[in-house]
Symmetry: C2
Subunit: 358 residues, 2 copies
DNA sequence: TTGAAAGCGCTAACAC
DNA sequence: GTGTTAGCGCTTTCAA
């Protein structure tokens, strides 16, 4: 294979197809794209020639001339996060159903890379860009997103924010997200109903909208059950399995003044579970733990994790569905998707260790 | 937002930037792409104008005129599979490091969708397409891939097969994969060393190259330990958690003539683990189980899974690295990546239940 | 029904 | 150094 990666070789063009079929380029084009009446006989000849030559249209030329392919882009922190992967899969599935091409980009949570990727998508002429995941909502963020929105809108493209706020309701972007506060309130309530009163929230990320909402829901539930504000104990260790593992380990060394932990998401729950086991404690007998998101393997944790189910794939599908529907009504529209608790085996009443030593 | 998705609006062009900067389009182009000497002063003016106008180049026009962006495409079965996600992340990371754009496509294991996607990538002018994952290697497959390879090569693009065979060594494609047989032999050996003699292989998928290789390794290990061919017991239930769950459940109903199970991958191991627990048995005391791939959450299974580590992200990175290196030497080259066992807690000697009832 | 021709936005010769 | 010009491959008026 003497194949120089730097110099793309010439491809078969529509002109060659036309020549072989004995028609003009225009006719060939019409036969190929099929949007213009062409006699069946000629059409067949053209198609035949195209197949013989293994012709594929040059998407760039086509886009330039007007008939561009519709392309959507999803931007996530990382594809290997089960939650993000599901959202991306939802977007890709819904896009594919509509004949759109879908590109996924990973930013590693770096605003710089996010900007570069959005820029790239603008250059490529993406008609829909979907930004996924909570963020710390500071001025830089607001400015960045306002710019994306305005720029995308100026070229007739759409911006949707998944699980992150619009910097301003007036901005040409729409947001689709889960009701984090409600989900957190519900699962905290579940813990409270089981009798827990000292619940620590593990995985705070101050400034991050998704986590802040979860913390707010947690505090609200505590308050609803008549607990004072100092009943709340949130550990701002951030997200991810490693963070959960470390933070839980440290917490266990310092204090055991809690009977349950509410992990910011299922990955930190995974880390917490491991740390608890490493400390020689049992879940749920010694400490109960709940997570957030219900990632596909949450039921395989030890024990199976009680968590909040956020239909991630549906979030992705909804994002494209809503963006493509109602061209007029989209500006600033805000959609909330429901969540629910899935009860498995990581919660028991406090003190269960004595009652049922397994 | 009156923003019609069907009619992309006009974008700022380089001509407008040139006018605003008071230079010709050519000068503007040179200043912007910076590959041609331009006096700092003019350069600054052009850049300024571009920023003021929020200009982004039209990637299609640029590609058409010759300066196309380098684009790589990864094709996987589904993004939500932890293993595939890691491979995709590796490809995307390595591509990004080199300033390439990376597109990921999901096929849902449908050859039809795979073909469409490859076609699409040809149209878009992808210079590198990476097909990931085992397949059933039949004539249809061989023909399909031979066609991809030939077509891609004809336009100067590269095809790499990850974890699937080249239909013919002469074909312009290169393959990068793990040594499935060696990995399977090693982990089967691990089970044998622990004293197991009745090991069932759960998750065969006859015809699938990756699984067949694993089964071959399993059989080879059995033979090496002096066991006859009828010591092998492979259950062809295919891959995935659901398959593992169902197959293991059925197996447990029929017979207990085994002390260990070798799951075709970690997802079927997850299902098997659950089925075993549902049957009231313990792992590893009553039955040992091992998996394949070492997906990120394998250590969170109950119990933590002993499995074969296949560095998936590295597979992805290697695919692009090798494809982009040595333009000449790539044809038919075959690269094998090493794997190793990671020992956790899902294996114990058979009969451990009596010895240590926990 | 079909062909000729004019661009789409950009880059790369090729002058000046 | 900088501008002029000719395409890149395709779609699409506009005539015939």
């Amino acid at each position: 294979m003497d194949n120089d990666m730097d110099e793309p070789r010439r491809r078969v063009t529509i002109r060659e197809v036309a020549e072989r079929a004995g028609v003009s380029m225009a006719t060939a084009s019409r036969a190929l794209s099929g949007n213009h009446p062409v006699p069946p006989a000629t059409r067949a000849r053209v198609l035949r020639a195209a197949r013989d030559l293994d012709y594929v249209a040059n998407a760039h030329a086509r886009a330039l001339a007007g008939g561009g392919r519709k392309m959507a882009a999803v931007v996530v922190r990382q594809v290997t996060s089960p939650f993000y992967a599901q959202v991306a899969e939802g977007v890709e599935a819904e896009a594919a159903d509509r004949g759109w091409l879908c590109v996924v980009g990973a930013t590693g949570a770096d605003p710089q890379r996010e900007m570069e990727f959005v820029q790239l998508m603008r250059e490529e002429g993406a008609r829909l860009v979907i930004l996924v995941g909570g963020v710390v909502e500071d001025d830089a963020y607001r400015e960045r997103v306002a710019h994306y929105a305005q720029a995308l809108d100026a070229s007739g493209a759409r911006l949707v924010l998944c699980g992150r706020p619009a910097p301003d309701p007036e901005i040409p972007a729409l947001v689709v997200e889960f009701d984090n506060e409600a989900g957190a309130r519900a699962i905290t309530g579940h813990l409270l109903s089981a009798g827990h009163r000292r619940i620590v929230f593990l995985g705070g990320l101050p400034g991050n909208t998704a986590l802040d909402a979860r913390v707010a829901g947690y505090r609200a539930a505590l308050a609803e059950h008549g607990l004072g504000p100092d009943a709340a104990h949130v550990v701002d260790c951030g997200l991810g399995r490693a963070a959960g593992l470390r933070a839980m380990g440290e917490l266990l060394k310092e204090t055991r003044e809690f009977t349950a932990v509410f992990a910011g998401d299922d990955m930190v729950a995974a880390g917490a579970l491991r740390a608890i086991a490493d400390a020689g404690l049992r879940v749920p007998e010694d400490v109960s733990v709940v997570g957030y998101n219900d990632i596909p393997l949450a039921e395989d944790f030890n024990p199976p994790l009680t968590t909040v189910r956020t239909p991630a794939e549906e979030l992705g599908r909804a994002a494209v569905r809503i963006a493509l529907r109602d061209p007029g009504s989209a500006a600033g529209s805000h959609h909330l998707l429901g969540t629910h608790i899935v009860v498995r085996r990581s919660v028991a009443p406090p003190g269960a260790a004595q009652a049922a030593p397994s």
